[in-house]
Symmetry: C2
Subunit: 360 residues, 2 copies
């Protein structure tokens, strides 16, 4: 088996921890000897054993002189389960192949250094791009202190996210909606503004609710959301986070807490609207490493203007309505000073076209 | 050589007449015998010899027992150059392969019938789709009395055709602009509304001006366009058509006619704006079989709402401006009653994405 194949297996295993390991990274590990996989494992849940430890345990004494594949540099710090580097050295591993260095400033190459000092050969960079994509949320938080943010918009061909009556159900096709629900499950959390909740009352659940329910973040600056909307009243309120700037409505705070909702308080800007920059840092501190933002226009406009968007998913439905709700409100730029994007991918979903891009 | 290959050659030859034969169709012809092409030709210019006549002349007496390939059913009516069917029969052609029947109600299968009655084998339908695409303008005029209309729009990602100052130069990239200029040359004419001329003062010329300049149609309901704009003042005013509802401004009519501009008068709707439905019929009567419409928003809105658009070319630039000029004005539809499109093709031009579609 090639290095690529074994690393791909490690990444595949790592994905099984999605949604359960945050704010830790997803990590998978494979121990190979003489062409056979003699042990493998992954980080299952925050607080549980690291992938390397699980895989080495399975390999047992066979691990001596074997090669270990892991999608992230093994840690040398004393985590809940001990330093992985110590375990690797102790097991007698001959060579370690890893996809990328750990961006955690407390590790950041030191794990690799310790292994090399112990005489173990270390290869770094196999399938690095895939590995970085897998843990983009973890990397973002480590480097910038804010979660990875994917902004999704469903637009008519003439650029509206809703018609002039406010209606936005459904601009896009079933195929697009299915992809959106799958995208939710590829993030730690889904986010919407209060306006979208008042209009659409969404549940923001993924297709497969058995596997994992991402946090549902509601931006509600003054904590005035009605008690009856789905996000604060359905069976998954323990997966709801309200980001607010309110510090007065004690009775409401108590009621939401009784419903097991996590209320995160952050700053308010002078103009009254929530400080999203600070707010996203506060969200990261709750252990959220990635956000799938589903609007509306005011939130989209603020996020894009403040440079807080890492990826854009724009669904363009083959529909023209002439007038409607603007996709990015609160912005007014001359053409020469437009916010520049860069398209990376084009896909078709049923009748819709999806453009994936980022800020240029 | 296969039938496909020889028909493709005929279509290739036909294209050489683009822009010069309207309102006639583009036709190319190949005469084949024992695997060799013994004669070929195309309809060069309106009023000149038909393709079959040119090809048969080149083949001379060799044409006896040969096979003739032509992308459109040979005419049996007495056109300027005599009926092509008579010439084919007289030359002793053994078999005729044609891509499609002539939609002209005066022919429409009768040419084929005459050939068969004369004992000639006739195959119909080889590369029919390509042949229909080539002469879509001619077919549209024959069937509906109006030209084929391609509507092009250059949009920001949030759906604007210009910023809030009115500026629209340039939303899209150079690669898109090049494609637009090539698209102009694939139509008999280019069309814009008065508003676009006042804002951008375009020349609407193709990349290659040597080959052929499409008519430049200006919609100017009250004939108030200033004399100094390019469309009525440059070196190509004999290629300008003004579509107007005015019937009073005699002095202006005279001035435009002096500049060799063709003024086409049509109806005005009760609401004051020009009757585009009647207007396009009047344009067809001037020998225009296809139009490439480049906006602006009012014209785009009227055309799409009246169902007058045969193809849409939507360029989406990776730019967000928040506010600007609407792409389809004069329309206000609820989502459930949106104008439905259908995407047929997606292409990248530099940084832009081009969506090609039609009314569903």
């Amino acid at each position: 088996m090639t290095d690529d194949k074994l690393m791909r297996r490690a990444i595949q295993l790592a994905k099984k921890g999605r949604g359960k390991v945050s704010p830790n990274p997803m990590v998978g590990c494979v121990v190979e000897k003489d062409g056979d996989i003699i042990g493998e494992g992954y980080h299952e849940k925050f607080g549980k054993a690291h992938a390397e430890v699980v895989a080495l345990e399975k390999a047992g004494s066979e691990a001596e002189n074997a090669t270990l594949y892991v999608n992230l540099e093994p840690c040398n710090c004393h985590s809940k389960t001990g330093a992985c580097t110590d375990e690797i050295i102790e097991a007698g591993i001959n060579k370690v192949v890893t996809a990328m260095e750990d961006p955690n400033p407390e590790i950041n190459g030191q794990g690799i250094e310790q292994l090399r000092n112990a005489g173990i050969e270390v290869d770094v960079g196999i399938l690095e791009e895939e590995a970085k994509r897998l843990n983009r949320g973890f990397i973002k938080v480590m480097k910038e202190g804010r979660p990875w943010l994917t902004l999704k918009l469903a637009l008519t061909t003439d650029g509206y996210i809703g018609d002039s009556t406010g209606k936005s159900k459904w601009i896009t096709s079933n195929d697009s909606l299915k992809y959106v629900r799958d995208s939710r499950a590829r993030h730690d959390s889904v986010m919407v503004g209060r306006g979208t909740v008042m209009k659409d009352n969404p549940s923001l659940l993924p297709n497969n609710k058995e596997k994992f329910i991402p946090y549902r973040i509601l931006i509600d600056e003054s904590l005035t959301i009605p008690y009856k909307v789905n996000l604060v009243n359905d069976d998954y309120t323990d997966r709801t986070i309200i980001l607010t700037a309110d510090d007065e409505k004690e009775k409401r705070w108590n009621e939401f807490e009784k419903r097991h909702i996590n209320i995160v308080q952050t700053n308010r800007l002078d103009i009254g609207w929530i400080d999203l920059y600070a707010g996203l840092e506060d969200i990261a501190e709750e252990g959220v490493t990635s956000i799938y933002c589903e609007g509306g226009g005011r939130l989209a406009g603020s996020l894009i203007e403040r440079g807080l968007v890492d990826e854009l998913q724009i669904f363009i439905a083959p529909k023209i309505i002439g007038e409607g709700i603007k996709s990015f409100s609160g912005i007014k730029k001359p053409l020469d000073d437009a916010i520049q994007l860069q398209w990376n991918e084009v896909k078709e979903f049923g009748q819709d076209i999806m453009l994936k891009g980022k800020l240029a």
